[in-house]
Symmetry: C2
Subunit: 329 residues, 2 copies
DNA sequence: ATGAAAGCGCTAACAG
DNA sequence: CTGTTAGCGCTTTCAT
């Protein structure tokens, strides 16, 4: 015989007052008699009453939830970002929904819809591969969006990223300045904006230096790095490799080691993201530090002001990255 | 001039029918005239109407959400687990809330409350450090819980874990069988059940073999492993170390390398969890494979049947672990 | 097969 | 200061 959760009415009866009064003490409305308030509080306690947040939201048509849609929480770059989002969201009173898309546009669309149905107050969309038109079409949903790691210039949505292009260029230029000539690039998925920008930066920097670019496209994974690097090594031996993210870089390093070659003596390796393991592995990985946590914090703040009614033009925040030089170069 | 989201009433008007009818087509009620259905669908489409899931839940007092409360998504063990949960939850039609407690009991309690307020249909609680009484007190909330990585024998809640004790024992016994005599243990937080069981297993196995246990307690982190291992090395040189998780193991390996010692020649290192990097690092880490993804899947399934009204006794599922031997031992 | 009306739990005027 | 009442958006009898 499963008993049901007590409602505000149960509390009201027990405290011999009206629902309105209970609602008032719940919302800390100052104009309630101390004695009454005490009675209500007692009743709440005795009944183990917990207010129903969704009924509340329904009643005053607000929402205290935020949706986070990201590619894959299993990719070590995202947990830190997600943590920045979660911490800030809770701090501002929101509860966070989360879902993984595996960079599948179909799934993304489905989850966006699901979040909207859940009446989230706003959505943080990471590394979407949805086309610009599609994303801009989201405007019709009447739900604020914030894009992370991606920006769409004339879009109605706020965004937070680093300057992927410049960061990547700095890496390649540094490698070139250090004397490297045969530098190859192991790129991420071409539908992902950050991957595409890194690749473009690499190509541009190489071309401008009169060097010929060698790029292999794969996914943002360890396996991809392993496979791509082996392919590269089958055809020659670069003196340096710039991987589109740290996972790829680890794969590359292991492929290199697998051939009996050393990092950085034989081949230098540069990654991107600065995930936890970049500093733990041997040799420690040189990489681009992306302020993932801060991106998360910023995204929520943007969303929050948008939800509070900010009707200003879309903001495109660009956070600072930093080259971290360790043992692999 | 911000327009508001269309409601079921807007759709009804536009399709010249009643709310009830719209509701019916929304719920695929078969007895609606094909022509009418088409009109309604058209109206929905034209208005870009998205049904309000929480109003719906309120109306039939159900919930399509699940809450996940875990220590820290930033710890590489959890994303895989979370992914198992997320995938399964969505598959079963639930949307997932998530929050991090950093193993702080206060925060845990607060988040549990928050989830209950959000009317989640159930909660998956990971590695809680709440006392047994406290956890059992949760029963009063009328919300089903599933515990992961922890079980409370006579608790009213379901649980999914591996046999932490036995797994750890197997490791220690193996090390002993290999001839190691001076084996130390770098433990996790003593309030965390899994950490405590691993420690106990280590102590028992050592004692039974007539060896004296040496344990250092810290947190489940890389830094902790680094620090603890250095302390150990300051006082002598074990021939093997059993770390309570892989992160600690990495810290230990780096501390060992820092002293110019080699793994496994000078000191063997054994971890636990088998996170992604265990196989990527040099030397690759020997560890206990914990079926994290599967734990997540199972947890959601248990919760689902509990939410569907299962009134059976609490189930305590124990999944299989496996020793993975790589280069570090 | 469709509509009218009540109600889910809560808040917010509006009275008193 | 407190109670009454009318919704919020949707589902679900109960009629028709």
């Amino acid at each position: 015989m499963k008993q049901v959760k007590p409602t505000i009415l149960d509390v009201a009866k027990r405290a011999q007052v009206s629902k309105a009064t209970v609602s008032r003490v719940l919302n800390n409305n100052p104009k309630v008699n101390a004695e009454i308030r005490r009675r209500v509080l007692a009743a709440i306690d005795e009944l183990g009453y917990v207010p129903n947040a969704i009924a509340r939201n329904l009643a005053n048509s607000t929402s205290n939830t935020i949706g986070l849609i990201l590619p894959d929480i299993t990719n070590p770059y995202f947990p830190v970002l997600a943590r920045g989002i979660e911490d800030t969201a809770h701090q501002l009173g929101y509860t966070l929904f989360i879902c993984n898309t595996d960079n599948d546009p179909k799934v993304e669309q489905e989850y966006i819809r699901k979040m909207v149905q859940q009446q989230v107050g706003g959505i943080i969309l990471i590394s979407s591969i949805l086309g610009e038109e599609t994303v801009n079409g989201l405007k019709g949903l009447q739900t604020p969006f914030v894009l992370c790691d991606r920006s769409i210039p004339d879009s109605p949505f706020d965004s937070v990223t680093i300057d992927h292009y410049r960061a990547a260029r700095e890496v390649v230029e540094r490698l070139i300045a250090q004397g490297h000539r045969r530098i190859c690039h192991l790129a991420g998925p071409s539908q992902v904006q950050s991957a595409e920008m890194r690749k473009q930066a690499y190509v541009d920097a190489m071309s401008e230096a009169g060097l010929s670019p060698v790029v292999r496209v794969g996914s943002y994974s360890y396996e991809s790095g392993l496979r791509l690097m082996n392919e590269v090594l089958d055809e020659g031996r670069p003196s340096a490799v710039f991987a589109a993210n740290d996972l790829i870089a680890f794969g590359a390093m292991n492929a290199i080691h697998g051939r009996g070659l050393r990092v950085p003596e034989d081949i230098a390796v540069f990654g991107c993201d600065d995930i936890l393991f970049a500093q733990m592995c041997k040799p420690a990985l040189s990489t681009i530090r992306v302020p993932a946590y801060q991106i998360g914090v910023t995204a929520v703040r943007l969303l929050d002001s948008r939800m509070k009614g900010g009707d200003a033009d879309a903001q495109h925040v660009i956070l600072e990255h930093k080259l971290i030089i360790r043992e692999s170069t």
